[in-house]
């Protein structure tokens, strides 16, 4: 019994030891970051699931409600892109979308940064939490914070 417990303990230590922290590190926050444009792109396939449609609906609602001025000025853009269509091949490759997903692309200091927002998938049943979470993220990007 002691041997079994010891083996389990060793396996756990081994498994934990093999893993490295899942820390997302991108460009640091800089006061000099000048955000030129933000793209909020929703990718989807020909056949969409319920959650895929909801994510598009909530994301579009968020940008239309809170960033109307930026949409009009062209500083922010929202698009829903069918990745199964040939004409969207380049933009799909640019973002590296692996399927239905929501991406935030930021043009800062002449460079392009992209990041998939996977957290939204946990909020498809809670519109308020979805909008709040996406707004917080977009505000961060607008302030030049790319973390």
């Amino acid at each position: 019994m002691v041997k079994v417990k010891l083996c389990i303990l060793l396996i756990i230590v081994f498994l934990v030891g093999c893993s490295t922290p899942n820390i997302v590190s991108e460009s640091p926050i800089s006061e000099n970051n000048i955000v030129e444009k933000i793209e909020v792109y929703h990718f989807h396939g020909e056949n969409q699931c319920f959650s895929c449609r909801t994510i598009k609906e909530f994301a579009e609602k968020t940008v239309n409600t809170h960033y109307q001025d930026l949409l009009e000025s062209g500083k922010m853009e929202f698009r829903s892109i069918n990745l199964d269509k040939f004409e969207n091949k380049d933009v799909t490759a640019k973002y590296g979308a692996t399927g239905s997903s929501l991406w935030i692309g930021t043009y800062v200091n002449g460079e392009f940064h992209k990041k998939e927002n996977t957290n939204v998938w946990y909020k498809v049943n809670d519109e308020e939490a979805f909008v709040s979470s996406l707004k917080t993220l977009l505000d961060k990007r607008l302030s030049g914070d790319l973390k």
Partner: protein, 199 residues
């Protein structure tokens, strides 16, 4: 804290193994894997009177899932194959292949349509018997095929959440294996329940 908020917190854990496990659990309850797991539970329950067989079939099904997920992850992490290409390919054609394949296997196993040329084939008769009776290899194959049935949400969980963690950790083996174990956990739990109380 709501259930989804808890799953999000655990799925975003700084410890890759913990994150992989909870992303796997999320996958287990998402539409496509849930449907395949229910099918697997039906398969596991086939010989309910043999508890050892039930448990082994449940574990082999999960092992099959583990095989496919680990294979995909290691191809991406260690061999640099584009996760975008694999993901889009499996989502586009995976279900198109899987659907007819399951129908054909079902027709052969159930003898719904009597096909004369099938009777003539000794090999096919043997294959039919294997699929229907053996169970062990069948459950492994079932797991490995079902794991490749990606629908939009399960593709997000695997390619959008798990693969980036595996790439960051440089681990194409343990992280996807833990993920796979969690995706097959409902089947293992069900087979354990059947083993403890088979009637």
């Amino acid at each position: 804290m709501s259930f989804m908020a808890f799953m999000e917190m655990m799925g975003s854990s700084n410890i890759a193994i913990v994150a992989a496990f909870f992303i796997g659990l999320m996958t287990a309850i998402s539409p496509c894997p849930l449907a395949t797991n229910i099918t697997a539970i039906a398969y596991v329950s086939k010989r309910i009177n043999n508890s050892k067989h039930t448990l082994l079939v449940g574990f082999l099904y999960t092992l099959g899932r583990m095989f496919s997920y680990t294979l995909l992850a290691s191809l991406i992490v260690w061999f640099g194959i584009s996760s975008q290409s694999i993901s889009l390919l499996l989502q586009k054609y995976g279900n198109h292949i899987l659907g007819p394949l399951l129908l054909i296997i079902g027709v052969i196993m159930l003898d719904i349509i009597k096909l004369n040329f099938l009777k003539a084939s000794n090999r096919l008769t043997k294959l039919k018997q294997k699929l229907a009776n053996k169970g062990y290899m069948g459950s492994f194959l079932l797991g490995s095929i079902f794991a490749l049935a990606f629908c939009p949400f399960s593709a997000v969980l695997f390619f959008g959440m798990l693969i980036p963690i595996a790439i960051k950790s440089g681990d194409g083996l343990i992280i996807p294996a833990v993920f796979a174990f969690a995706t097959g956990l409902p089947v293992i739990i069900f087979s354990l329940i059947l083993t403890v109380n088979p009637k």
